[in-house]
């Protein structure tokens, strides 16, 4: 008996050792254009640590001094992305998509564990409209704009065309300013790849002139383990001409482009992309990048340029050689799901850059993400490490999560709107007018101007 117990103990120890692998490195080394990329490693068991969801109670996310956080909508059906309409109304896309069957026994187990970190509420499959008619910061109207959609995610407005990226198609609603309810069922413009839909979110933004749409279509696997036949038209960004109902592949090799935004001024398309899992706590960094037309970004053959992923067979050295390294690493496993460019109205320290919503990790012993960060830009390029903008989603002991950020939208009136798909809340982080005492301010000094209902907004 004693011997048997000892054998079990050795077995347990071996399992424990194989599961931990190397200690995670400081995440600071994983930011920017040249992140530290350690050797790939994986124990016998993948690291799975999911922060346990709890209620916010009387707590709130934490913003920098000079900002006020307000829950402007609660009780939603899994809010993902938001769109600011020209009259200041906010549209919220709600839903849960994907119908990927379990491929291996581990998918059954992983599915159970991952579901512990998400909401138990059913997906709304709808758009909810929020309105603050009197500009007091309280969105007194919360009404369903359209329902019966299929896991809507990406939203864009161009003129009177409201485009919605369902998990299987881009559809169009007619939108008139001030409208609170769609007057007709949507018209389907272009079908999107939706078989399996391992990564189901269809991020979307409109070009600067509003004539084209860009749609992010995530891969159907972590790293090609469903076979490359399942990856046709996946891990790409499509450019769609809604007038002609045509599409073409704009860029490829982007594992899971979960949010897209057009950079003001340059009109350049940017994306946040979630990279692959299960090769260690510090691989592979999720990233923010400008998306080059015709560019190939490596997936699945390589990551961060030409770092070959040995898990893919057959390999493709030619494509690896052609792979582009992204612009800016956000850290491994942070799960960036939202991006929007800032405006000077958010305040001088946040005037030039991009906000990124990080849903938070599952494949890392020490959870990361679970916050909204600001990536400062200079001369149109990321410059410097990310700055925490909205935190407090993860408890100090890192084992309890109150919320998980997804989409971020900048309100030119001086606020950032954050969708939280764990607590089913929309947070509005607004700059306090009192903070902006008159004085010399660099750049356009429009910070703190009261919310004007006519503020124009770019689709995104």
């Amino acid at each position: 008996m004693i011997r048997r117990v000892r054998v079990l103990r050795v077995l347990a120890l071996a399992l424990a050792l194989s599961a931990c692998g190397a200690a995670p490195r400081p995440i600071e080394r994983q930011y920017g254009a040249q992140p530290e990329l350690p050797q790939p490693q994986r124990g016998l068991l993948p690291e799975m640590v999911i922060a346990k969801p709890v209620q916010w109670g009387d707590q709130q996310p934490l913003a920098p001094p000079g900002f006020t956080v307000r829950a402007i909508a609660t009780g939603l059906g899994i809010p993902r992305q938001t769109l600011l309409l020209p009259n200041g109304d906010i549209l919220v896309a709600e839903g849960r998509g994907g119908n990927a069957p379990a491929l291996k026994p581990k998918d059954v187990l992983a599915g159970v564990i991952k579901s512990r970190g998400t909401t138990s509420v059913p997906g709304g499959d709808r758009l909810t409209l929020l309105r603050d008619a009197d500009g007091d910061g309280e969105y007194e109207l919360q009404t369903v704009f359209a329902e019966g959609l299929d896991a809507p995610y990406g939203l864009a407005l161009s003129g009177n065309n409201l485009y919605v990226a369902n998990q299987d198609a881009v559809v169009r609603f007619d939108y008139q300013p001030g409208q609170t309810r769609a007057t007709a069922p949507p018209e389907t413009l272009v079908a999107l790849p939706s078989q399996i839909n391992h990564h189901w979110t269809k991020a979307m933004t409109a070009s600067a002139d509003g004539s084209l749409l860009y749609v992010g279509i995530g891969s159907n696997s972590n790293v090609g383990e469903r076979g490359m036949a399942a990856e046709v038209d996946r891990a790409v960004v499509w450019e769609i001409d809604p007038a002609r109902r045509m599409h073409r592949t704009y860029a490829s090799g982007l594992r899971n482009p979960t949010a897209l935004a057009i950079q003001p001024g340059s009109g350049q398309l940017w994306a946040v992309v979630n990279e692959r899992d299960e090769i260690g706590p510090d691989l592979v960094p999720d990233y923010l990048t400008s998306v080059r037309e015709g560019g190939f970004y490596g997936w699945p053959y390589s990551y961060w340029g030409s770092n070959v992923d040995d898990r893919v067979r057959p390999q493709d050295p030619e494509r690896v050689a052609a792979a582009i390294a992204p612009d800016y690493a956000l850290g491994s496993h942070v799960a960036a799901l939202g991006v929007d460019f800032s405006t000077p109205a958010i305040g001088p320290e946040f005037a030039d850059g991009a906000f990124v919503g990080m849903h938070g990790s599952w494949n890392r012993a020490e959870p990361v993400g679970y916050k909204v960060v600001f990536v400062p830009f200079r001369d149109g390029q990321p410059a410097g490490p990310p700055v925490d903008f909205l935190t407090g989603f993860l408890d100090a002991d890192q084992r309890v999560a109150r919320g998980r950020p997804v989409g971020v939208t900048v309100d030119p009136a001086g606020a950032v709107i954050v969708a939280d798909d764990l607590s089913n809340t929309i947070w509005r982080v607004s700059r306090d007018a009192a903070m902006d005492a008159p004085g010399p301010v660099d750049g356009p000094a429009q910070a703190g101007t009261p919310a004007s209902p006519d503020t124009a907004s770019s689709p995104g």
């Binding site: 016998l44 026994p105 383990e225 067979r313």
Partner: protein, 142 residues
């Protein structure tokens, strides 16, 4: 007239024990063949087959192992062969358990260790089946 001769012949396996043990073997063999097919073709579906076959083999052989270990507690069951059978079956199960973890890796990351463990686990399973079913002559060494 009844002669009191102790044959020390182990009782034959319980039918359920026999079915579980015999059932596990083709699953492990199938996983090994699927691994070979994946290694030769890079066709990922073979790796998926192997993963499920190993889990099936683990389930059946775990139950057979309960029978095998339980049998050792009975005096008449604790023959050299039966002890060896239980030990080899336990070794096969442990090898296949690690093999299942290895097969949970994505794509080629399960190779070549997954194939090596499939070979070891299958050879051990064949040995366990051999020890369990080999004919034992009455009065012979067991």
């Amino acid at each position: 007239m009844a002669a009191l001769v102790e044959h020390r012949r182990p009782p034959s396996l319980h039918p359920l024990h026999a079915v579980l043990l015999a059932g596990a073997l083709p699953l492990f063999v199938g996983a090994l063949l699927a691994d070979v097919a994946y290694a030769r073709t890079y066709e990922i579906q073979w790796a998926n087959f192997a993963s499920w076959l190993i889990v099936g083999g683990l389930l059946l052989s775990a139950m057979a192992l309960v029978f095998a270990l339980g049998g050792l507690f009975r005096r008449e069951g604790r023959t050299t062969t039966r002890v060896a059978y239980a030990a080899v079956l336990a070794a096969a199960w442990i090898a296949q358990f690690f093999n299942a973890l290895m097969h949970a890796r994505d794509g080629w990351a399960m190779m070549p260790t997954g194939l090596v463990l499939s070979v070891i686990g299958t050879v051990l399973a064949v040995a366990a089946v051999w020890l369990a079913y080999r004919p034992v002559a009455v009065g012979a060494w067991t």
